[in-house]
């Protein structure tokens, strides 16, 4: 069995209606799974940058990047995990609504502080916390808070960039 691992793929593409659906369509049509997906315009409004994570084998990821590159509106494709040997900078943003009453209220506050999270909304019974970091840190925060205390979670999915001089640009 070939080894599977997480890959972080960055795609620079024309900022046009329909571009995103072609990328997403490619994945569903060819039976690849997208774990997280992010897209927004870059500093150049004609270009969008899309970041996605997928867990698959080395063979499949080569085929995926080739297929992505074949799409007419895709300008550049980079497997960040590959070019950075796994040391790419990754961040994800999470908003989490936690029950915070009695003694537990103070504990949630302290935990948020330890994780350098921000409390962005307060009500008598709960805190809404904003936290950024790599996916592992966010998972860790959920574990520490305790699933039974969590009312709602929204995560952005990962964005990433290569370390050092290397850039993905025209």
């Amino acid at each position: 069995m070939a080894q599977v691992q997480k890959h972080l793929i960055s795609v620079l593409m024309e900022n046009e209606a329909g571009s995103l659906s072609r990328v997403v369509g490619l994945f569903s049509q060819r039976g690849y799974n997208i774990d997280t997906l992010n897209v927004a315009a870059t500093e150049d409004p004609t270009l969008s940058r899309l970041t996605l994570t997928t867990i698959t084998t080395a063979d499949k990821i080569e085929q995926i990047t080739k297929q992505l590159h074949k799409l007419i509106e895709v300008v550049k494709v980079q497997n960040l995990s590959e070019v950075s040997n796994g040391s790419q900078i990754e961040r994800e943003l999470m908003l989490i609504k936690v029950r915070a009453t009695g003694a537990h209220r103070e504990e949630v506050y302290r935990t948020a502080d330890i994780f350098r999270a921000q409390i962005v909304d307060v009500s008598p019974n709960l805190y809404t916390i904003l936290i950024t970091g790599d996916a592992g840190k966010l998972d860790g925060f959920i574990e520490v808070i305790g699933r039974d205390k969590i009312l709602e979670v929204v995560r952005s999915g990962v964005i990433g960039i290569a370390r050092g001089e290397r850039t993905l640009s025209l």
Partner: protein, 572 residues
Amino acid sequence: MSGAELLVQALVDEGVTHIFGYPGGAVLHIYDALFKQDKIEHVLVRHEQAAGHMADAYSRVTGRTGVVLATSGPGVTNTVTAIATAFMDSIPMVVLAGQVPSTLIGDDAFQECDMVGISRPVVKHSFVVRNPADIPTIIKKAFFIASTGRPGPVVVDIPKDMTNPADKFDYFMPESVCLRSYQPTSKGHSGQIKKAVDLLLSAKRPVLYSGGGVVQGDASDELRELANLLNLPVTNTLMGLGAYPATGEQFVGMLGMHGTYEANMTMHHADVILAVGARFDDRVTNNVKKFCPNATIIHIDIDPTSISKTITAHIPIVGDVKPVLTEMVAQIKATGKRLDEAALADWWKQINEWRKRHGLRYNDDTDAEIHAIMPQRVVETLYKLTDGKAIITSDVGQHQMFAALYYKYDEPRQWLNSGGLGTMGVGLPYAMAAKLACPEKTVVCITGEGSIQMNIQELSTCLQYNLPVKILNLNNAQLGMVKQWQDMLYEGRHAQSYMKSLPDFVKLAESYGHKGVKITNPATMEEELKAALEMDGLVFIDVYVDKSEHVYPMQVAGQSMRDMWLSKGERT
């Protein structure tokens, strides 16, 4: 000019001479603009699927991009099968899709349909016109994308208000287009080509495996030169038939599921495979885990995603086959080297041994008392009567494999068939487009009674445009290939493989104003077929063939290239 006139002028400037289509509300401005000019001939079909197939075939025969025009909603959704067919076989095609006015898009308006969305998985790219003045530039881009790199279909969605005759614009057609996100590689990497040449020259048991890319890439001459220079055995895929002449001594036949015994054995035992414009389709490789265990593979393809998708290539070369083969030949000539002569002689001796097994033999007794007409003999007779010069189109099924195996194609673009998608119903529209493009050639559609009924309404179009094609119906009164699988894999349970209500095809052809001939006697088949082919106009030749006949050879599913049935009960 109005948007409709901009569109027509842009098509003229792209060199379009024929459009295949069907009018409707959303495209009437365009039809009016077509009516007022005489540079482009519009061919009115009876079903838009046929328009798509005709545009596809027009491209297969001429090498130029085919054009379809259909109205919004059902008109253009009817072309989807044809678009998918062209996509799978990498055929350049532009589909002009009518759309409801932009003000109504998203309102579930009458005949509204998200054609760009529906066609997305089977197009190379698509455009939506948002400003009429952009139409010529979009057309330029559409043709550029359709015909370069790995060719394919492009959809241009045109809302009705973009073609409104009341709105006028200046005509601006760019000389060329450059897309920052699309720059297909043409020339192959010289270093890779050198590695490939070195490997090829060291081979003891080489084989040249060529596919549809050689036909599409107009590289048949280069392929022949390379094969002849090194005395390589050559096998073609279904899509590549004619790229290397079938009557050439080095030709070992088609390979794959219904390939010849010698072609599949040559592949299985090869030490170096040079794959050119072929994509290791599953109808070729059989079980990829058991595929050609001793072979080192050189793979030339314009599309990087085709390389190492199913079979790992040891030396990948991305580029147009024509310049790559040209450079390979030049490098080989420069080295002055040839293959090891003794090894190559042994290899050819082995191949000739395999040839002696006569995998294509069949029972060709012509005694009408004992036998029905054998379909293989009909195709062989057709080959003889047309001197091997006809353009042959075929549908999908047993007759397709008989047409592929028993007619010898010596020239590229002589054989038109849906290889990738396997679309029943292409045969007649393919023949019609071939006749339009090459009126001086004999065009024969080899079909079956299942396939022909999928677009039989086009007999009406043939009458309107006087398209004297010959339809050779190998009529076994059943879905032959389905029945063959049911015989071999489902213990003879013939679920829904019978066509119990066949029309009288002769009368049917006559009702459309054509001629029909029925042939039932093996003893007189040849002379009757000859007479039918010599008749003027469209002739529907309905040949009653042996109902029990299977197509052989056939690979044993899930095994290697060489595991085959050679006849009923006879395995390799």
